[in-house]
Symmetry: C2
Subunit: 153 residues, 2 copies
């Protein structure tokens, strides 16, 4: 498959990747390393928390999203990375045993004025659960290489 | 040490945690699991990328920040979590061998109108390198329990 470049990310394009099962073991292992709050480690403590039961760290959801995006379309594109992320919202608890789907929607694109070889692709990324309800949503801008012919002066 | 509650997070308060060494091994291991873009995995590929050399995934920086925050003050507070994050900015590459410091600044606080037992603590979190230059900055609002006496009707 040809690598996707800036020109392929047209506003309105929706890319779907997954599903991917999220296990209790990986939720607890991630939390133990990066976010050892009791609500991400222990079922009983989690029941007493605002999560109402064991759920993944929101940062874990971000990381799972990134991996699904890499496997789904980022690695097979001219992506150069992203300077940051806007508005990460953790909308509902991500429970063990959930099959998550990543839905990426292209919101807007803009060619770089100063760097003709690249452009910016603004996307919304929604992580959906088995009921296709969003557990997380975020927006970010990917820096994306343009096709050689488009970048030529 | 007494647990910090909502009342202890006054605007202007600065909490510093660290330093913590970030190794090449953990940068590559994290990338292999969650963000396998060549610029986070391979020195040569990274040199050809906009990072100009091997650097941690931005998500790895977020995860390291969260762990430092947990160890530094979150676990010893009445924090109930956070509904999301605003404006994550990856400002410069996080290189292997860097000793990072987390600087948390309280920007604003607001007692909940509907839930007298909690309030919101808006913070900025800056991850600084050895030169105390920020490699990442973000803002978020923690949901924080209030002291029993403050929450009483």
């Amino acid at each position: 498959m040809t690598k996707r470049t800036f020109e392929d990310f047209t506003p309105g394009l929706v890319i779907e990747n997954g599903p991917r099962l999220v296990t209790r073991e990986e939720i607890v292992a991630f939390a133990a390393e990066f976010d050892p709050q009791p609500m991400h480690l222990d079922e009983e403590a989690a029941r007493a928390s605002i999560l109402g039961g064991l759920a993944a760290s929101g940062w874990h959801t971000c990381c799972l999203m990134m991996r699904m995006a890499c496997d789904g379309f980022v690695l097979n594109s001219s992506s150069m990375g992203a300077p940051g992320v806007d508005e990460v919202k953790w909308l509902k608890p991500l429970r063990p045993g959930t099959n998550i789907t990543l839905q990426t929607t292209v919101l807007d694109t803009r060619a770089s004025n100063s760097r003709p070889e690249m452009g910016f692709v603004k996307i919304r990324m929604d992580v959906l659960d088995d009921d296709r309800e969003p557990v997380m949503t975020l927006t970010t801008s990917m820096i994306m290489g343009r096709r050689a012919e488009a970048a030529a002066p």
